[in-house]
Each structure stands twice: as C-alpha cells, then as structure tokens.
C-alpha cells in the first residue's frame, strides 16, 4: 500500500468533518428548496376590494383603519352593491365528518345506518331548506390547516415560516378578522384550536381540548351545554361550534364504529335545535341567520386522517336556512373546494374577500335562494358577485405577474398563449369587456339572454382556471435548490464512502468477505432488499406503506432462513445424523418461534379489537383487573433486564466493561422505572399535564445521557482492548463485535423507552419483541463472519422497524414532541428532535473510529477532538433545521398531546402522514447514506441506531 493512501489522524478528522459540513449545507439547501416561502399578500382587504384592481385605491386603504365598524359595514354594503343576505352566522364544525355520511357518494345516498341516524339533516336536504356540497380539502388533512383554509380561502404551504414564526395566531387576512372589523360579536364553543388561531377575537368562548381522545361524550357535552343560552341570546353575530366527538369516535373505532351512529344522532339533534331556533329568532328579531355545517376533513376506513386520499379529503359544506332553496343541486355537480367556503361566506355577509383566497364563490348558493332575493340576485348580483371574486383573484394573480396590471398584454384570442397568469388576464379582460357591454345597453338587457349567459360563463371560466392555477402554485418546488442540495449531500456521501474505502484497503475486507461461501439466497435477498427500499424512497406510496414492506421483507427473510435450516437437516452423513439433527431441530424451533411471533404481532396489529377479546394474555389482563396489570408490568421489566443481561454477557468483550455498561443500563432503569410507575399511577388518578411533561423530560434526558455515556465507554474500552500490532483481520472482527454491541445497546434502550409509552395491555408485546431481537440469525448461521454479522444487523433493524410500524421520523417527532409540547420552548424540543435524526451520523462515525482506534490509540486526543467536533456540527445542523421545521411542530402538537394521554401511538400514523414530506426529506439523508452503505455493507448499522422509538399500537375500546 502506498503511503499516500494511508490515513493520518489529521487527514481523517479533516475528511470527515468536511464531509459532515457539506452534508449539512446540502440539507440546508434541500430544506430551503422543499419548503419555499410563497408570495402572499400581506394586510387585510378593505374598501379597495370593491373596485377593479387597476384603479387607484391607495386612499381607501387609509380610510378603513380609521372608520368605526358600523360605518365600515354600511360602506361595504353601499360599495359592493350586494347587500348581505344574512345577518347572523352559526358555523358548526363537525370534526372529521366525511361528506359521504350526509350526502352519499357518486350520486348514491349515504349508508342506511347513517341516513337513519341523521333524520333531521336529511329532511332539511330533502325539503330544500339546506344545500350541501362535498368540499374537497387540501392535504394535510388535519384540523388547524383546514380551519385556516376555511377562513382565509388560501392553501397554505406545509411551512409558512416567514409569516408565522413560532406563533400559532393566524395573521393572514381571514374572515374572522373581517367580521371583527365590521364590529361583529363572536362566540366560540368547542375545539380550542380556534382560540389559538384567533386569540382575543371572541367575546365569549369555552374551549375544549382534543387532549382526551378516548372521550367521545364529555367533549361534545361541553359544547352543547351552552347551546340553550347562546341560541336565545341576541348579542352575537357569529357563533362557532366545533364538535370534536366524531373525530374521536373515528380514531377509536374507525369509520364504521358502533359509536358512529349514536354520535351522528347527537349531531343531528344539535342541528335540529339550532335550526328550529333559527326559525324562532327569525320571527323575533327579524334577523336572518345562516346555519353553516362544515367538517374540516374526512377520515379513512380506520378513522385516521392527514393524507390525501378521497376519504380523508371528502369534507362537508352544508348551508341551511329557514328559507327554501329553489333547486337541489345534483350530487355529481356538488364537488367544491374547501377554500370556496371563505369567498362564499364573505359575499353572503357583505365583507371583502380575504386577500389570499384562491377559492371561487359557490354561485349556486346565491342563485338558489328563494323568492324575495331571487329576482334581485339573478339580475345584478350574480354578475356583481362573480366580478368581486374575479377582482380579488386578479389581485392575487398580479403578484405572480412580471408586469403590473392586466391591460398591457396584447390578448389575441387563439394565439396560443400558454397557461399562466397572462392567459388568465386575457380571459378576465374578455369577461370584463362582455360585462361592460352588457351594462351599457340598459334597456334591452335581460337575465335570460345569450349574452348574459356568456358573461357568466366567461367569469366562471376565468375563476375556475385561475383558482386551479393558484392552488397548484402553492405546491411547486424550485428545482435548482433541490438539485444542488441533493448534489451536496451526494458529494459528502462520496467523501464518507471514500473514507470507508480507505479503511477497507487497510483492513482488507475482501479477505474477510471470502471467509463466507458466496451466493447464498439470503445474502442476495438482503442486497436486493436494500436496493428495493432505497428505490422505494422515491415514491410516496412506498414510503407511506413502508412498515408493511419491512414486515414483508423480514418475514420473507425468515422463510428463507427456515428453508436453509431445513436444508441442513439431512444433508449430512448417517454417522453425524443424530447430533446434527438435534442441533438443527433446535435451530428449526428457533426459526419457528420467530415466525409464530411474527404471526402473533401481525395479528395483534392488524386486528386489535379482535385479538383483544380472544388473546389469552389480554383476556387474563381484563379478567384479573387493573391492579394486577401493574404486577404484570413489573414482571415484564424484570424479565426484560434479565434477558438483556444474558445477551450482553454473551458478547465477548472484557468483563469489566460489560459490567460498566450493564451498570449504566441498570442505572437508567433505576431512574426510569420508578417514574414510570408513578406515571402509571398518576394516570389512573387523574391527569396533571405538567407532571407528565416532567416525567417525560426526565425519562428522555436520562436515556439520552446514558446512551451517550455507554457508547463512549464502549468505544474506549474497545480500543484499549486491541493491540496496535494486531492483524487486520482481527481488527475487523473486533469491529464487528463493537458494532454489534452498539446495536444491542440501542435495542435495549429502545425497548425501555417503549415500556414508557405503550399501553399496559401491550406490554407483553415488548418482551416478545425483545426475544425476537435476541433470537437473531447469528444462531442459525453460526460462523462469525462479516455476512453473518450483517444479516444480524439487518434482522435487528427490521425487527425494530416492525415494532415501530412506521417511519423513524414520525416516531421521533412524536416522542420528542412529548417533551416539547408541554414546555414553552419548542425550539429546544426541535433541536433535540433533529439531533436524534442525525444520530445515525454519530454512530457511523463512532464505528468508523472504533475500527481504526488502534491507530489512533497513540493519540487519544485526536479522537476526542473529532468526537466533539462532530457532536457540535450535529447540533448546528439540528439548530437550523429546527428553525425551518418549527412551524411543522405546531401542526403536530395536538396529536402528540393525544398520544401522551392515550399512551398508545395510534395517532402516530396521522402525524406521520402530515409530515410525509418531512419524512421524505429526512429519510433522504439516510437513503443517500445507504447507497454508500450498500458499497460497504456493514455501515448499515447507522440505520439501526437511528431507531429509538415506539410502535404505534391501536387498541380499541376498553
């Protein structure tokens, strides 16, 4: 080997530090590209929205802020030419109600059970007193972004960092702010998300939290108990009722839960009360009240939401009044967007449309109102309404135009202008010109003429295309930044890879690789699996269902191992037959145990309610009562530690080090377990969030501290164990052992952390999981070569994947949000979170270093300097990723709270699908890293160490 290729300590440090640096820069660029800041209009629409966009409107803007509310209201009416059709609004939000339950799907009526559960609502629809739409919600289908979309008409990006930094108050132009400006009194009952979004805007409020996800009764009772008072009191103009119960029902039992029909019945009862009171107040106060029933999102079969499937985005928009709507809109035509609600409500109540609205007005609502408004609306207002909406969209469109104003483009029709702002401008100008010419011929204008219809069509055309284009704009990505980010990350991976190759030259992997017989089915399978999983990172549907794929691969691997074990049964001479036969029977039974375990766990997660009633263990637990569950848990803990120690002793490193590491783990448990028990106890006694947060924080601080400390002990002890002069092959074997140790340790800690967050009914699974991890294929393969070790690692990895059942980042965010959600400083939580996302790097590098530690032994300070610098770099990376991901944390928070309380991770899935994009982003780091992993197989351990997480466990009932 030439001297140029050999590594000096200085070179080594320089190399890795620069590689990590480049990686961080690449990640930074990637995130910037992935979550670009969209051009939005600041400020709040005022009087200028009643004038065409190109007219000079600076003077109005000044006026609006000084005008008193009543004056402003009348001014709005005067200018718009559209008098408000209603005076009061009751906005009833039913969280998670799919429109299908009320309106049916594809023209078919809803399921019979749901029809019967909502007799009043159905009768409203049938009598034409209500008009309902499927309102397609944009992903992410979780409550807060959906509420924002409904009141502002804008589709927010996943991160609106620029406008909304670490605050939850909604600062963009929205309906609530507009209503406040014209002096409305508003009352809010229900989900406290509204209070966070609009602090100090409601004159009365009673917020309920979605904290107790299992509670489906109290949460709605807390809203309904105020109804009698509020409905009879005349002092409000807007009443918001946000019912969470239905969403909770979905989360507990899915779409077809037995609780669903009673819940719908309850909602129907509420609708009946409100609607009959509307009719009464109509007579008393002579005020017209609109009851608007909306849902923020739908739910999947399993009752989850967050993604973009039909079931999740199918939300409801239902307008109910005491007057009759002329015609019932056909179901196939009743597809609207959720953002349309904002503009429609704004025009119904005569306030300016919010500035960033991309929705189009639901013209049918206006057109189909009965009699006394009818003639009126159809003549002037219809066009006026469309015009107002067009003006507002045109203003928004102008932010995307290179030149100001719309008139400067030469619009030759049919000259092949591409889809873009210019073309929309032209279609607007066409519509406006038609409108003008129609207005000019005063005498002969009629609402039934062809020219009238063509104006309406032209406006609709403009609104539809523009709205579509503007909505799609909020999801594009700048390619340049993404590409440069990925390129930088690839470059750094190449750097790390070359480093590993340099090590490889010294250690001579080839030799050790040749120790094993080549071309076994299982080895080919593993390599193929890794490639498939890396390629799978490219498609969102593969990532979404990643846990299934991992499980599928693991089980396939075990079946292959089973086949291999069967191969050995008779492939030997008669003399040794009995001995080998017994041995392989032992192996066979191990494999079978693992496979049975697979079936058990799969059954548990597939159909929890089914197994809950029939599994022996759960049956016993239910039978003997809660007090004994506590004992069960204690047993599990003890058994777990015994197992851990046994496995740990089996790995051959120096006894004193073993003891020290075991001591660490014991210590850890010593701190963790009592607090866990107290926690369990407290949970039964009743909740104190602050107390919970303290425990969660302690728990993870201690875990993390011990983890780092144990790793340090491991690496140092390992290094002191090896002679400088020992052969390369021996070094290699030692490396394997140390990496195995690290993996074991991480698994142990992972299981401990799971103990803290799993429901007591699921505790028994953990011990199975541990057995599963312990009975790794090194038993089957026997020899201590590199490939065996690799299979071992892969198995452990898949095992952890399986028990988690979801992507690493989702679980990270869940766990770490546990810490951050109760403390005020979400920044710290974020840093912690990202630091753990990057932990894989530390682990790769620690392993690389433990490998070459023999050469660094002469100079331990270099090692320490290296370790510290990498740590610092990781923290740096974490900090600025945190700033970017901060907003996203806010989105997740409420789900995380639910997770804490339920202690099962049934909501992880939701959090996960919200952050699909973030997952792609962060997985990207690791998948790029995995490419270099494939080249140098065993660095795969990095991914093992990414994992410190919990499995989401869905448990119904009980």
């Amino acid at each position: 080997m030439s001297k140029n290729h050999s590594l000096t300590c200085a070179k080594l440090t320089l190399f890795t530090v620069s590689a990590v640096m480049i990686q961080i820069i690449g990640l930074f660029l990637f995130i910037m590209g992935f979550f670009p800041v969209k051009p939005t209009l600041s400020g709040i629409s005022g009087l200028e929205s009643f004038y065409p966009p190109d007219s000079d409107s600076t003077d109005y803007a000044q006026n609006t802020s000084t005008l008193p509310p009543e004056k402003l209201k009348s001014l709005y009416q005067e200018l718009s030419g559209v008098p408000p059709l209603f005076d009061r609004l009751i906005l009833m939000v039913i969280d998670g109600l799919p429109a299908e339950f009320v309106l049916g799907k594809d023209g078919k009526p809803p399921p019979k059970a749901f029809m019967e559960a909502m007799p009043y609502t159905q009768s409203l629809l049938a009598r034409g007193l209500a008009i309902g739409y499927h309102a397609k919600a944009a992903p992410p289908t979780v409550t807060m972004p959906r509420l924002k979309a409904m009141v502002s008409g804008a589709i927010g990006g996943f991160l609106d960092v620029a406008s909304n930094f670490n605050t939850q108050a909604f600062l963009d132009d929205n309906l609530i702010a507009q209503f406040l400006k014209i002096g409305w009194k508003m009352v809010m009952l229900g989900d406290e998300t509204w209070l966070k979004l609009f602090p100090n805007m409601f004159s009365r409020h009673d917020g309920v939290s979605s904290f107790f996800v299992k509670d489906t009764i109290q949460v709605d009772y807390n809203v309904s108990r105020h109804l009698t008072n509020e409905l009879s009191s005349p002092d409000w103009d807007l009443l918001i009722l946000h019912y969470l119960g239905l969403d909770h029902v979905g989360h507990i039992g899915g779409r077809n839960s037995i609780l669903m029909a009673p819940k719908l019945m309850e909602m129907d009862e509420v609708i009946k009360r409100i609607h009959s009171s509307i009719t009464k107040t109509q007579e008393i106060y002579q005020g017209r009240t609109l009851l608007m029933i909306v849902s923020d999102h739908g739910m999947t079969e399993a009752g989850n939401h967050g993604g973009s499937s039909y079931e999740e985005t199918d939300s409801l928009a239902l307008f109910a009044t005491e007057q009759k709507y002329i015609y019932i809109v056909h179901h196939d035509k009743s597809w609207k967007k959720q953002v349309d609600i904002a503009s429609t409500l704004a025009l119904l109540f005569g306030v300016p449309i919010p500035k960033n609205n991309v929705g189009t007005v639901m013209a049918e609502v206006f057109a189909s109102l009965e009699e006394k408004h009818k003639i009126w609306i159809l003549t002037i207002d219809m066009l006026m309404i469309l015009e107002l909406n067009s003006w507002q969209l045109l203003r928004l469109l102008q932010t995307h135009l290179t030149e100001s104003g719309c008139g400067r483009f030469a619009c030759e029709s049919g000259s092949g202008i591409e889809d873009g702002p210019e073309k929309f401008c032209c279609s607007y100008l066409d519509a406006a010109a038609l409108h003008e010419s129609w207005k000019s011929k005063k005498s002969s204008r009629s609402i039934h003429g062809d020219d009238y219809r063509s104006i309406v069509l032209a406006y609709h055309d403009f609104l539809r295309t523009t709205s579509k284009w503007l909505s799609s704009r909020s999801t594009d990505k700048p390619v340049g930044l993404l590409a440069s980010g990925i390129a930088a990350m690839l470059l750094s991976c190449l750097g790390l890879m070359s480093l590993v190759f340099l090590f490889g030259q010294e250690v001579d992997f080839k030799k050790s690789l040749h120790l094993s017989h080549k071309g076994h089915l299982d080895e080919i399978f593993i390599v193929a699996t890794i490639f498939v999983l890396i390629l799978g990172m490219g498609s969102s549907s593969m990532i979404e269902e990643e846990q299934y794929i991992w499980h599928f691969m693991t089980s396939s691997m075990y079946l292959i191992l089973l086949r291999r074990t069967i191969q050995t049964i008779t492939s030997c001479s008669h003399l040794a037959y009995y001995i080998i036969g017994i041995l392989s029977l032992h192996l066979l039974s191990l494999v079978l145990v693992v496979i049975i375990y697979c079936i058990y766990v799969i059954g548990w997660f597939q159909n929890p309610s089914w197994l809950l009633h029939y599994t022996f263990i759960s049956h016993v637990q239910i039978m003997i009562g809660k007090a004994f569950i506590f004992l069960f848990e204690l047993d599990y803990c003890i058994l777990f530690y015994l197992l851990f120690i046994v496995e740990f002793m089996a790995t051959s490193i120096r006894r004193s080090n073993q003891l020290s590491v075991s001591f660490q783990v014991y210590n850890c448990s010593h701190f963790v377990l009592p607090s866990l028990f107290v926690y369990q106890h407290r949970r039964k006694m009743g909740l104190s969030p602050r107390y919970l947060s303290t425990i969660a924080r302690n728990f993870f601080t201690i875990l993390n501290f011990h983890l780092i400390f144990s790793l340090l002990i491991l690496t140092i002890s390992f290094s002191s164990n090896i002679h400088v002069t020992s052969a390369a092959h021996l070094k290699f074997l030692k490396f394997n052992k140390s990496s195995k140790m690290v993996a074991t340790l991480y698994h142990a800690i992972g299981v401990i952390s799971m103990l803290g967050y799993s429901q007591s009914l699921n505790t028994h699974l953990l011990i199975f999981i541990y057995i599963f991890l312990v009975s790794n294929p090194s038993y089957f393969c026997g020899t201590d070569n590199q490939v065996t070790n690799f299979i071992d690692l892969l198995m452990k990895l898949t095992g952890t994947r399986m028990r988690r059942g979801t992507n690493p980042l989702a679980s990270y965010i869940v766990i770490d949000n546990l810490i951050s959600c109760f403390s005020k400083t979400s920044i710290l939580g974020g840093i912690y979170d990202n630091r753990k996302t990057f932990v894989s790097y530390i682990i790769i590098l620690i392993n690389l270093y433990s490998m070459t530690f023999c050469r660094l032994l002469n100079n331990i300070w270099w090692y320490l300097a290296y370790f510290v610098s990498v740590e610092i770099l990781n923290h740096l990376a974490a900090i600025y990723c945190t700033f970017l991901l901060l907003n996203y944390h806010n989105v997740c928070k409420m789900y995380v709270k639910i997770c804490v309380v339920c202690e099962n991770m049934c909501m992880c899935e939701n959090v996960y699908s919200v952050c699909k994009m973030c997952v792609v982003l962060c997985e990207n780091v690791c998948s790029v890293c995995e490419i270099c992993v494939v080249c140098v197989k065993y660095v795969k351990i990095c991914v093992v160490c990414k994992i410190l997480c919990v499995k989401y466990v869905k448990i119904c009932g009980v």
Binding site: S309, E545, T570, I599, Q606
Partner: protein, 231 residues
Amino acid sequence: MQQQVQQSKASETKYAAVSFASPLKVLLLHLTCGLGLVSGFWLALNYYSLTLVDNSAQTLGIVWALEAAVVILVYSLFRHNPDQCSYVKAIARGLLGLPVGAVVNALGAIVLGAPLGIQHFKKTVHWSLLMSVFTFVPAASVFGSSWTDWHRIFAHTKPIGSTDFMICLPAHGAVIGAWFGAWPMPLDWERPWQEWPICVTYGAILGYLVGMVVSFGLSAFHNRRLQVKRD
C-alpha cells in the same frame, strides 16, 4: 464444468429409477394443466358469472377444484416406481397432499402478512388450496412420501430429469410469482384488485405459467443433450 458433468453423470446413475418423461409428454402435461386453469376461470365467468375481483373466494374455489382434478389425474401418470404404486394410490396421495399443502401455504401467507380476520378466512382457504394444487399436489402424486425427493426439490431446488422439472419449476414459479404479486397490495392506489388475495393469485398464476414454459424448455434441452451424449 467438468465437475458438473461428473455430478450429473453420477446423479444419473444414482437416480436411474427416476422416470424421464419425453418433452412431448411434458408439453402435453403442461398444456393440460394450463387448459384446466383457463377452463376453471372460463367456467366461473360464463356459468356462474363470477370474477376474481368481485367474488374472489367462489372463483378461486371453482378454479382450484377443477385444476386439482386435472393436476392429480395427470401427474399421477408420472408417479415414481409405477410397479409398486398403483395409479389409484397416486391419486389418493395427491388428494392427501392437497389439504396438507394448503395448511403450509396458508401459514406462509399469514407469516408474510395475509389478513387474519374472519371475513378473509374463506379467501385464504381457497387461495391456499389453489397454491397447494400448484406446489404440493404434483409432488405428492409423483413422489409420495419420499423425503429425499421432497428435500431435493423444495429445499435445495436441484431438479434432475424432466419429471423433476415439471414439478419443481411450476411450483417455484407459483411461489415466487405470488411473492411478487403481493407487492402492490399495501400501496395506496385504491384499486379493487389490490385486495387480498387477488393480485397474489394473479402473480401465482403468472409465475406458474412461466414455470411451465421454462420446465418444458429445460426438459427439451435436457432431452437433446441426453441424445447427443448417447450418440
């Protein structure tokens, strides 16, 4: 290469008793099995108007019943030691192999994540019976309970001679095809055929057909090489 030739020679002498079916026979057998499969689907569609996507359990039931009859009758003709083992006995072995193979296949499917609920039970049963017809039944008819043969075919995948080919390759083809067929199942495409066990069945049948083609090709090739060697 030389080693292989030696090995094959040795194995030829060792398995002299193994019956070598001519390529024509192999072709006829595979054609019959393929026709049985096709006619099963045809029968289900035209007489009972069942499709795999809409009524997977019933369709699978018809298909496996018909295919099992064809496979058992045809493969029993190629039984080992025809002198000691009558045709009826071979058929009985095949019939016995059907439920046993179904249990093994069902277990494998469950390990790989097949749904466990009661509502899927019928489908799983019918699917595993069909898989058993593809994998276990031919081997049971031909080999009976000969452990070495089973071990050679299924654990080591070392088929010798055309009879082994026509058992081993379609069976492996069906299993591998089913494995690949399971891939689209968890994806969020929302297609009706993503349900258990529709796409798995498609995969298995495709793999089975490919296995039969390869089996015929190999036995023809094998036959020619034997003839060349004899010359």
